[in-house]
């Protein structure tokens, strides 16, 4: 994985041990006045300075190389390996840069000449010879969580021995300007579930997971199932009473054959926006008689939007492999109205069932259950 925290599982895990998030900013040029926004960019890449294509490919290739290292995929496996890709923006940053450069050089230009959705899969075909069926999910912040869910189903159905899940988000002006215009960005830090939460900080990164079927005797981290549902309460927020979030959590427990009391901890969506955290806290309280320990990872890596399903699941797998749970970065002050408090210190993590929740614009809600043993 590659995030603002670093490259690879170890760098990310080590950086999260501090319990503190990052704060970086970027400037949106070209508007009446330059706009300064917080942003957690990936740094220290060897790519050509300023090229959005190189930046996207460097992040993607580094994360895929890490996921495939030590795995002996033969030519036939590579030719048929299915690619389940989730992103909110795909290659739009590349298209923006081409358009801006053409405007600067020629005064007028054709916008969006790029086939943005295909950028990730075509890079993987070119760089890794992966020719299997590709699925480019675009369901906002649940994109790569939905990809993960379907990749799991594909393996369970016996269609493929392996499946590659990719969540990728790279910097682009459309997303930053859109979130800024909707007044959803925090001024400084992200504070999920905190009384003084003001909104989110966007981040870029890539999470890649290679899945394969495993028998009951195997030890490690397993995806046991999950559910994706549509909540038509509002296009930009889930029902704040938590009813729809409770429904997707309940369904995920049912399809995975896990009882609510068996959940050891929850990786919350936790965007730090007032509406999300209200609905999510209410949803957890509806399902769990006693809400298990929970935390948000977005205080560390930012909200990586469509990539957060893959990035946060990969981070969760890393932490569970170390038998620990991370502190919820950014939380300081209890919000009595939420009725729940995230964990604020690193805790030990036993073998058992863990829940990961992801919610997005367009009413897309997804809840996954993973097992650590």
């Amino acid at each position: 994985m590659v995030t603002a925290l670093g490259h690879g599982q170890k760098q990310n895990f080590d950086a999260m041990q501090s319990g503190k998030g990052l704060l970086r900013t970027c400037t949106l040029e070209g508007f009446d006045e330059p706009i300064q926004v917080p942003y957690l960019a990936v740094t220290d890449l060897a790519g050509e300075e300023g090229s959005a294509t190189n930046h996207l490919e460097e992040i993607l290739v580094a994360a895929v190389n890490e996921a495939l290292s030590g795995v002996d995929l033969g030519d036939d496996d590579r030719k048929t390996l299915p690619l389940f890709i989730g992103s909110s923006s795909y290659g739009i940053g590349v298209g923006e840069q081409q358009y801006q450069q053409a405007l600067a050089q020629e005064g007028e230009a054709v916008p969006l000449l790029l086939d943005g959705f295909t950028q990730v899969a075509s890079c993987l075909r070119r760089r890794f010879g992966l020719l299997g069926p590709d699925y480019a999910y675009n369901t906002a912040c649940t994109s790569s969580a939905n990809a993960l869910l379907d990749a799991t189903a594909s393996i369970v159905a016996g269609h493929h021995p392996y499946a590659l899940v990719i969540g990728l988000e790279t910097c682009n002006l459309t997303t930053l300007a859109g979130f800024y215009g909707m007044q959803l960005l925090a001024a400084d830090a992200m504070r999920p579930f905190d009384k003084h939460r003001q909104g989110l900080i966007l981040g870029e990164g890539c999470g890649v997971l290679l899945l394969q079927a495993a028998g009951p005797e195997t030890s490690g981290i397993f995806i046991s199932g999950g559910v994706s549902r549509c909540d038509t309460y509002s296009i930009s927020a889930s029902n704040p009473d938590g009813s729809e979030i409770a429904r997707v959590i309940d369904d995920a427990l049912n399809v995975s054959g896990v009882h609510a009391s068996d959940i050891k901890a929850i990786k919350a969506h936790g965007t730090g926006s007032p509406l999300n955290d209200n609905g999510e806290a209410a949803g957890m309280r509806r399902v769990f008689a006693s809400v298990p320990p929970f935390f948000s990872m977005k205080g560390y890596v930012g909200h990586t939007l469509g990539a957060c399903g893959a990035i946060e699941t990969a981070l969760m797998a890393t932490w569970l492999s170390a038998r620990e749970l991370p502190a919820s970065a950014g939380f300081e002050h209890r919000d009595e109205s939420l009725g729940v408090v995230p964990i604020t210190k690193v805790q030990s993590a036993d073998a058992g069932s863990y829940m990961l929740n992801f919610f997005g614009f367009g009413g897309n809600n997804c809840s996954l259950i993973i097992q650590s043993h």
Partner: protein, 300 residues
């Protein structure tokens, strides 16, 4: 194996002499709710999906799968022009509509669907991607029905859109919203549930959807499926793909009389199902990696 139980369709040719046909009145007439601040891609999805759902009692756990190469491209172009030419921030509704799954939200809301709601893209093979994902969920028993749409809107000026599509500037263009309500085929349902599925017999059965890595895989696939039915037609949505006689001998080319747009495989399949009984259609979508995405369907 997917049994097609209902169809919903919209198609129009696009040229620069006039704006694309207005859809607002038709959308308002067919939808239970009057949606405001929606763009043309959402209108196309609402219209096609509502036509497909008409007369069918949709379970609210019906899975929703929308495939498209470009999704809300006209709105996204407008956002890009506003930002980079005029220096304006996107308006909130305009920004939210650039998210491809906004269309799925409105379709779900209109049809009271609460189940899985997926937007997927795979270039000109986005229909095939949507069919494959729907089949996965039907086979796992997660859903009993799937509403699948493949939608691409027309873009003006057409010469710029031809450049975007990588085709000759004079190619006639169209736009379409093609929808299929499907359930698992009778044999698989019997096997899984021990009973026949309820409802009317299907209009057609989609027996196979696959992505083939190279020409030898395609040849092997065709040698099986081309011989399954005495009356088999073939359709390719690729303008550059030459139908090699040795691969396709004995198969009649199917002409759905559609202008070019990425979703036109969906339009071809839908028209074939309406036009023919007891016949088969093979569709091919080739991509720049040399892969071919195929479907094989038989009409009732």
């Amino acid at each position: 194996m997917l049994e097609v139980i209902s169809l919903g369709d919209y198609y129009a040719p696009i040229n620069d002499a006039e704006p694309p046909p207005a859809l607002r009145d038709e959308v308002n007439a067919i939808c239970g709710e009057r949606f405001r601040r929606i763009d043309r891609f959402i209108q196309l999805c609402l219209l096609g999906a509502a036509r497909c759902a008409q007369g069918n009692d949709l379970d609210n756990h019906t899975g929703l799968y929308i495939g498209s190469r470009f999704a809300a491209i006209c709105n996204t172009i407008q956002v890009q022009q506003q930002m980079f030419v005029q220096g304006q921030l996107p308006k909130p509704a305009q920004f939210i509509n650039t998210l491809s799954n906004s269309a799925g939200y409105y379709v779900a809301r209109n049809l009271n669907l609460q189940g899985k709601n997926i937007f997927v893209s795979r270039g000109n093979a986005s229909l095939e991607a949507a069919l494959q994902l729907a089949q996965l969920d039907l086979e796992s028993g997660q859903i009993k029905q799937a509403l699948i749409g493949v939608v691409d809107e027309g873009v003006q000026p057409t010469v710029q859109h031809c450049q975007r599509l990588g085709i000759a500037a004079t190619t006639p263009l169209g736009e379409g919203s093609h929808w299929f309500l499907v359930r698992l085929g009778a044999n698989e349902s019997r096997g899984k549930l021990g009973i026949r599925p309820r409802g009317n017999p299907g209009l057609a059965t989609i027996h196979a959807v696959a992505t083939l890595a190279d020409d030898s895989s395609l040849q092997e696939w065709l040698s099986h499926y081309a011989l399954l039915h005495r009356r088999t037609f073939i359709y390719s949505n690729s303008l550059s793909k030459k139908l090699d006689d040795s691969l396709y001998s004995g198969l009649a080319a199917y002409n759905p009389h559609l202008d070019y747009y990425p979703a036109n495989t969906g339009g071809a399949l839908l028209r074939f199902i309406k036009q023919y009984t007891d016949a088969s259609l093979i569709t091919l979508s080739t991509d720049d990696a040399g892969r071919t995405h195929v479907t094989y369907s038989q009409t009732a």
